[in-house]
Structures are given as structure tokens and as C-alpha cells.
């Protein structure tokens, strides 16, 4: 193998590993469930923020929309997931509006503390027009 072919082999190998890194699952996941209708909360906009501890400003990390299963894969990359205070904002008012209904909660913001970013965290939202709950899952 000549020198160029040898170097090319290194670049191709790196691409392969980069693709693998891009498909690692997010260490932070969510799941929206519409318990009023017994269906996943699909097509709900959710926004993930990280609190800047120095300025106390919320920095927007990701905007996403839940899929047909009420999930939103790829919320954050493993390497970006640091210890800190995060906020998940669920656009519940818009969600129920799209279904032709009102909702007591115009939006839901769940603020939580990540102390150990090596763990997996699941922050679901179980929702109806007049109630909601959340818990820390894995």
C-alpha cells in the first residue's frame, strides 16, 4: 500500500467512528403521554435549556417535536451532557389547541438538576387538559 492509500485508510476509519458517535442515544430522554385520550403526546414542541450558573441565563440547547410515540430522540449529545441545572419546556397549550381543546396549563417547564452526567435520565410528562405529572426515570 502506498503512503496516500495508508493515510486515506485512517480518514475513512475516523468517519466510521464519527458516525458511530453521532448515533449514540441521548443520555437525556423524555416521553409525553396524553392520559386523557390514552395516546402518546405526538407533535408537541419541546425545548431544552441549560442554566448558565454565572449569568443565571437559560441557554437554549435543543428544540424538538415529539414523534408519533411521544418521544424526542437526540435531545442532547453525550459529550455535551454536563452537570448542571436543565429545563425542559413542553408546549402543552399549543398541543391541546391543535387538538381543538383548551388546557389549564399554557406550557409546562420542568427544571431539574443533573449531578452525575454519566447516568441516564428520563424526564417524562404525563398530561391531560387539567393535570400533569413527571418523575425521574432512567
Amino acid at each position: 500500500m502506498n503512503r496516500l492509500q495508508h493515510i486515506r485508510g485512517h480518514i475513512v476509519l475516523t468517519d466510521k467512528y464519527m458516525n458511530m458517535a453521532a448515533t449514540l442515544p441521548s443520555p437525556l430522554t423524555t416521553h409525553v403521554l396524553n392520559i386523557a385520550q390514552g395516546v402518546p403526546g405526538a407533535n408537541m414542541t419541546i425545548i431544552l435549556y441549560l442554566l448558565d450558573p454565572i449569568s443565571s441565563v437559560w441557554n437554549l440547547l435543543t428544540t424538538g417535536i415529539t414523534n408519533d410515540d411521544g418521544r424526542c430522540p437526540g435531545l442532547i449529545k453525550k459529550e455535551s451532557f454536563i452537570a448542571g441545572v436543565y429545563k425542559l419546556r413542553f408546549e402543552t397549550g399549543k398541543y391541546w389547541d391543535a387538538l381543538g381543546e383548551t388546557c389549564f396549563y399554557p406550557y409546562v417547564e420542568v427544571v431539574f438538576t443533573i449531578t452525575d452526567p454519566s447516568q441516564k435520565y428520563h424526564v417524562p410528562l404525563i398530561l391531560s387538559r387539567f393535570s400533569y405529572s413527571t418523575y425521574r426515570g432512567s
Partner: protein, 118 residues
């Protein structure tokens, strides 16, 4: 005030220990629709029964968007425990038809729920 219930009430329950969440700090805010900023309406603490009477008067309880912020992180810290949530904010809409609104919070170290009661 006496025994007259206000138009907006709350009740905080510690579902981890099966007791009312006593002495939890909380605050009520109203969204100023023109400025889109939150104005503080009341600051208080829950009593031994986890309730906080006198949050707002009927006259002041005009239609709009409100927020109750519960200092859950401080509460668990005072019990010597950590919690997943540093605080909980419940944002809700009050319409002209709403005479009596109850916004309870059921909270443990790793979960919480709320519902609209009356």
C-alpha cells in the same frame, strides 16, 4: 379573612413521606400581558397542613396567566435530603368564569404532580 376560602388555593403534599409539606416557601406571580414579565403577587409559606391561605383576594384575582413557584429544593434540603427538582413552577390560565381554583402539588424527591381542583 376568617374562614372564607380565597379564590385561589394550594395544598402541598409530601408523597415521599406521606405528610403535608409544611413550611415550604412559595410565591404567586401574575403575568403582565403588556410587558410579558412576571409580577410578584404574594410570598408565603405552607402551614402545618401544607396549605397557604390568603394567596390572593377575589378582587385581585383577575383573568390572566399565573404562576406558583414552590421552593421544593429548599424544602428537601431542610429535611436533609437532595431532590431532582431545585424548584417547581406551575403556570396556569385563569378565565373570567373561574370562581375558585385549587392548584395542589404532590411532591416527592423524584416526582411531582398537579391538577386543577376547585
Amino acid at each position: 379573612m376568617g374562614s372564607v376560602k380565597g379564590p385561589l388555593t394550594t395544598h402541598v403534599l409530601n408523597t415521599g413521606d406521606g405528610v403535608p409539606a409544611a413550611r415550604m416557601a412559595l410565591s404567586l406571580h401574575r403575568l403582565d400581558p403588556h410587558m410579558t414579565v412576571w409580577s410578584l403577587v404574594t410570598i408565603g409559606n405552607t402551614n402545618e397542613d401544607g396549605r397557604c391561605p390568603g394567596l390572593i383576594t377575589s378582587d385581585a384575582f383577575t383573568p390572566g396567566m399565573y404562576k406558583i413557584r414552590f421552593e421544593t429544593g429548599q424544602y428537601w434540603e431542610s429535611l436533609g435530603q437532595s431532590s431532582f427538582y431545585p424548584y417547581v413552577e406551575i403556570v396556569f390560565t385563569v378565565s373570567a368564569a373561574d370562581q375558585s381554583v385549587h392548584v395542589p402539588l404532590l411532591v416527592s424527591r423524584y416526582s411531582y404532580s398537579t391538577y386543577r381542583g376547585s
